[in-house]
Structure formats: structure tokens, C-alpha cells
């Protein structure tokens, strides 16, 4: 993904060679064991796009989202949003552009604050306008997300899960950000409520020309939402590409296994057989070579020792020896 792609506009979000290493069991004299939660990830998201990040628990998707929000400093690499670097002095300017929606609407809202003050909080922190203007903005945003005005003085405990998630979305939108980082925004919700929230997110995207980074483990939701899909495994993107291509003609064996495990509501089809060796590896002792090889049924000798190179083709990227030239020469 170089600047060669004939796109005049700068990407809304640009991440270059981002890594985050944790040191587990670190002590006074003990350096600890390195855990590469995010390992050398690059991505660009254009205005109005939805980038979905999928992968199993422990693959690093939440760490990546925390890095993108500036909640944790990266070990190396850079993040730019709307031309603003995250690592600069002005954290607030960055936060104005990039806002989060978290998974659990029960724990992400302060139970002792009213809805109006939860939604208005970012305005106060950034000292935007007069109190009257702030209140007008809160009402406007509540309307956008479909929250009746009578909820202004309610508390989160008086609301349903779906309504709380609307509050979380309103709070994220109040500063008019360009990018929303949604970390599993619907996985705590019932299916009928999930559908409402997904529809709302799509409407808002069209109306406000928003860009989403959408983190989810539910591939049917991802297919519904995403333009670009990035499949993450043990801290690395193993396959990236336009959603339609990745989800219809998956190339990486891991993407294939993830897609095989979708349970569509069709009776009489039975359970799928997935082509995957059981057992998620220990991220503290990642396997040598391709990190996926112990679970891959198509693993070759080279996969056990050599990390596959990242292959680019347009917006498609893949890290797998099945598609690399080294395969022929090996």
C-alpha cells in the first residue's frame, strides 16, 4: 500500500510498522519474557471506509485498537490520523479525530452520571463552546443516534443494552471525529438489538462520511459491515484485502478455517468440519517460521523455519508460503 495508488486524498488513518511488545514476568533484575502482541503491522484506511479486523481471542486485536486510540504507546512504528501523528505532543488533537466505541455498554458508561453529562463530557474536556452550545450539541447527537430527548437526565442503569450502546456511540460522535474504533460493538447484544446498532452505524457512516475500524470475531457481521478485511493471527496480519475477495475467495488457510466455522442458520446442514489443528499456541513462545504452521494442514517444510514474506498485490496482502515464490525455489 504505497502512495502509488492513485488516490489524491491522504488516508484518514495510516499505520506504519507498528509493534507493541509486552514484557511478561518483569521484575527488578528480570527483563521478562517478550510478548509481541502487535508485530510489525502496517495499514491505511481511506475516508469513508470500514476496515474490519478479525481473529481469535489473544491474537492482538484489542491491543491494536488500544494503540490506535493512544491508550498505550507503541514500542515502535507510527500512527497518523488525518495528518496528525499520535506520538506528538498534542494528544488532544488526535483524540478529537479518533474516538472509541467499546464492547460492553454496561461497563463503559459511568453509572453515576446522567446520559447528557456522559455524552457532553468530551466537549467539556476539550472546552468546546458555551454550556448552551454544548447542550445543543448533545441533543443533536442524541437525535442522530436515535435516543429520545427524555433520556437526557436518565442514568445508564435505567437503559437497555441497545440504548446504552447508542449512548456510547453518541459520546464518540459528539466531537465530530473522522474515525471510530469499534471494538466488538455488538457482541454483548441480542441479535435483534445487534441488527439495530449495525444499521445505525451504517446510516451514520453515510450521513457523516465516517471511517470505521471495526474489530469483531463474528464473520457474518464483518461481511455485512466491512470494505476491507484484515485477518490477524498472533500479532500479525496474515491476509488483508477487499472484503468481498477475502470472504468469497479466501487464500490463507487460516482465513479459510475461520470462514468454514461460520454457522449459518440453515437446518439439516449439520456441523462443518474445519481444516485446522486444534490448540492456540502460547504467544510467549511463538512457533518459529510461519506462526500458523503448527495448526495448518497445508504446512510444508519451509513453513517450520522461514517466516513468509508479505506479498502485495493492489490492496491485497498475504503472508503464506503457499503463495510465495520461495515455494518454487525451495
Amino acid at each position: 500500500m504505497s502512495a502509488a495508488t492513485a488516490d489524491t486524498e491522504a488516508p484518514v488513518l495510516e499505520i506504519k510498522d507498528l509493534s507493541r511488545v509486552f514484557h511478561i514476568g518483569k521484575g527488578w533484575l528480570n527483563a521478562g519474557k517478550p510478548l509481541r502482541a502487535v508485530d510489525n503491522i502496517s495499514l491505511t484506511v481511506r475516508r469513508g471506509e470500514v476496515l474490519a479486523i478479525v481473529g481469535e481471542s489473544g491474537c492482538g486485536k484489542t491491543t491494536l485498537s488500544r494503540l490506535m486510540l493512544g491508550l498505550q504507546p507503541p514500542t515502535s512504528g507510527s500512527i497518523m490520523a488525518g495528518g496528525q501523528p499520535l506520538t506528538g505532543i498534542d494528544r488532544k488533537a488526535f483524540a478529537r479525530n479518533v474516538q472509541p466505541v467499546f464492547q460492553d455498554p454496561y461497563s463503559s458508561l459511568n453509572p453515576r452520571k446522567t446520559i447528557a453529562s456522559i455524552i457532553g463530557d468530551p466537549l467539556e474536556i476539550h472546552a468546546v463552546g458555551t454550556p448552551q452550545e454544548r447542550q445543543a450539541r448533545v441533543i443533536e447527537v442524541m437525535e442522530q443516534v436515535g435516543l429520545p430527548r427524555r433520556f437526557m437526565h436518565s442514568y445508564p442503569s435505567q437503559m437497555s443494552g441497545g440504548q446504552r450502546q447508542r449512548v456510547a456511540i453518541a459520546r464518540a460522535l459528539v466531537m465530530r471525529p473522522e474515525v471510530l474504533i469499534c471494538d466488538e460493538p455488538t457482541s454483548a447484544l441480542d441479535v435483534s438489538v445487534q441488527a439495530q446498532i449495525l444499521n445505525l452505524l451504517q446510516d451514520l457512516r453515510r450521513e457523516l462520511n465516517l471511517t470505521y475500524v471495526f474489530i469483531s470475531h463474528d464473520l457474518s457481521v464483518v461481511e455485512y459491515m466491512a470494505d476491507i478485511v484484515a485477518v490477524m493471527y498472533l500479532g500479525r496480519f496474515v491476509e488483508v484485502g477487499p472484503a468481498r475477495e477475502v470472504l468469497n475467495t479466501p487464500r490463507h488457510p487460516y482465513t479459510q478455517a475461520l470462514l468454514d466455522s461460520i454457522l449459518t442458520p440453515e437446518a439439516g446442514k449439520g456441523l462443518p468440519k474445519i481444516d485446522l489443528v486444534a490448540g492456540f499456541p502460547d504467544p510467549l513462545n511463538p512457533p518459529p517460521g510461519c506462526r500458523f504452521h503448527p495448526r495448518c494442514t497445508k504446512a510444508m517444510d519451509i513453513c517450520k523455519s522461514v517466516q513468509p514474506a508479505r506479498l502485495h498485490q493492489g490492496r491485497n496482502e498475504i503472508e503464506c508460503h503457499l503463495y510465495s515464490e520461495t515455494k518454487q525455489s525451495a
Partner: protein, 341 residues
Amino acid sequence: MNAQDEAVIDVANLSVDISVPAGQLHAVSDISFSVGPGKTLCLVGESGCGKTITSLALMRLLPRSARLSATHIRFDGRDLSKISEKEMAALRGNRLGMIFQDPMTSLNPVYRIGDQLEEVYLRHRGGPRAKARERAHFLLEKVGIINPGQRLTQYPHQLSGGLRQRMMIAMMLMCEPRMLIADEPTTALDVTVQVQILNLLRELQQEFNTAMILITHNLGVVARMADHVAVMYAGRIVEQGTAEQVFRQPAHPYTRGLLECIPRHGQSAHHDKLGSIPGIVPSLVGKIEGCSFRNRCLYVHDGCQSGAIAMQQAISGQNYRCLLAPHEVSGASIAKAENMA
């Protein structure tokens, strides 16, 4: 459900009322079902519909404030609604197994896995510990654990979520139960692990001829696992039939609504919106009149406001609790009504 004589469990008119400050909360109202050996019944519905209360009622693990009533809950020649707490305790974990949603909290963190598995056996069957250990070893192999000897000496925190759920399944099989109640057994797991655990449950169920009640909100899991399906809404069963009937020709407007809420393969937001069910579940406190789904239903009319809504049979064979006539709920005409709405 013509095999009622040989059913492992036969539940008739089960209701659970819970005392709350505002009055009586009708958590489960008048539900009936039966499950045969080796068969799976799925209870499906959204949070608050009463599916977990139903499973707790069958295990007699309801909170003190709850009152259970039923014509009968026949299991293994006994009536679970009438037997003493002591008799019930002898059945739990023995003839009647249960797996809970969260494998992180349902194992005791301060005991080794082996001790927890053996305890079940020793409690119900007695005998030397060596025999219990042998059985635990055998079952861990059955649930696909590679080095059982070592795993038995580990503590729960040393295992991944998938492994812990396998341990729960092994623990539940220690005494070869005739029936197994699994409440959201795969909800906390990754998608690939979910498929593995469901496959495992299916295989073991066939091998031991266990009846299973599977409780979930995931319609994909239901479609792939169930022989029979009961869709619950606001404490009642609103549609009940074979998985084929319910998924091919859903009759109740709620079932239809739920199925339309799920994004399908090939569906993207650029083309069409997801269906959604407007409104929220009504309060279950106090007297309930008429259809409990009426405030969210596209087909509501005056008749829905009062009286009891009876079950009737759809053309495709399943039962549903709605006033719409069978010919009105067959595929074509409901679609027409939706276009008009």
C-alpha cells in the same frame, strides 16, 4: 413428539414465578416439551426470555424467591417437581448433567482438575479413588485432550477456554448422565473452538445416547445442532417444531424477525439493511393479557390485545402461538404483508 413414552424427560406446563418488590414476575409461563434419547432440543430466544430460568428449574437450582409449578417434570421414572431436595441432589451430576456458559467460573480455581472430576464420581458412585481416576483419564481422552495424565494434575487457570470447556464436558460425563443441559456452552469461545466443541458434544451424545437440552441465543448453533426447536419469548414458547420446520418455514412473526436480523453470507450493507425488531420486551410483572409480542409485531390487530393466545399448527407442521391463520403465515403471504407495512 410422538415418542412420549420413551422420552427421557417430559415437561408439562412448567411455570416459574419470581417474587419481586413490584409483584409476581412470570419468568416462565406454562411451557411443555419432551426430549428422547440421543435427541437434542434447543431452547432459543433473547436475553430475558426465560431460557436459563427453565434450565435452572429443571435442575431445581432456582433462587429462593422463585416458585416452580408444573403438572409434571417426568425424568427417569420420577417427577422432578415433587421429589425431595435430597433425591434431587443425588440426581444432579449423576443422571442429570449440566454445562454452564462460562468455563472460567464454573471450575473451582483452588482444586486440581483431577480432584474435581473424581469428586463427581466418588460422590455418586463411591468406590476407590483409583477407579475414579481411571474414569477421568478415559474421559479426558474421549474429549480430545492429548496428555490426560498431566492435565489432571493442573489447575483451571493453566488451561485455555476451550480446554476448560472440554474439562466441564468430561466432568459432566463422569457418571454417564441420561440427560444433559447445556446453557450457552460455546458462547464464550472462539468461532473455530466453538465448532470443535459442538462436534464433540454431538459425537459424545450419539455414543452415550444422551438426551440434550441446548440453550442458546445463536440461531446458527440451533440450526446445526437441534432435532427440535422451541423459540421462547417473554417466558413462553411461541414456536415449537423440528429444526427443519422452524428454519425453512418460520411461522411466528418473532421467529421470522429474528432470522431477518442475522447478516447472511453475501449480504452487505451497500445493498440491503438488516431486518430488526423494533421495541423492547414487555415487563413480565403482574397479570399478562393477550399476546406478549404484540407491541413489536407487524401484524398486530385488536384480537391480540386480550385473552390467551393458543398454540396452533402451521401448514409445515410446527406449532406456533399467534392468531394469524396457518395459510397467513406460510412463506408467500407474510412477505406480501411486509411489503405493505
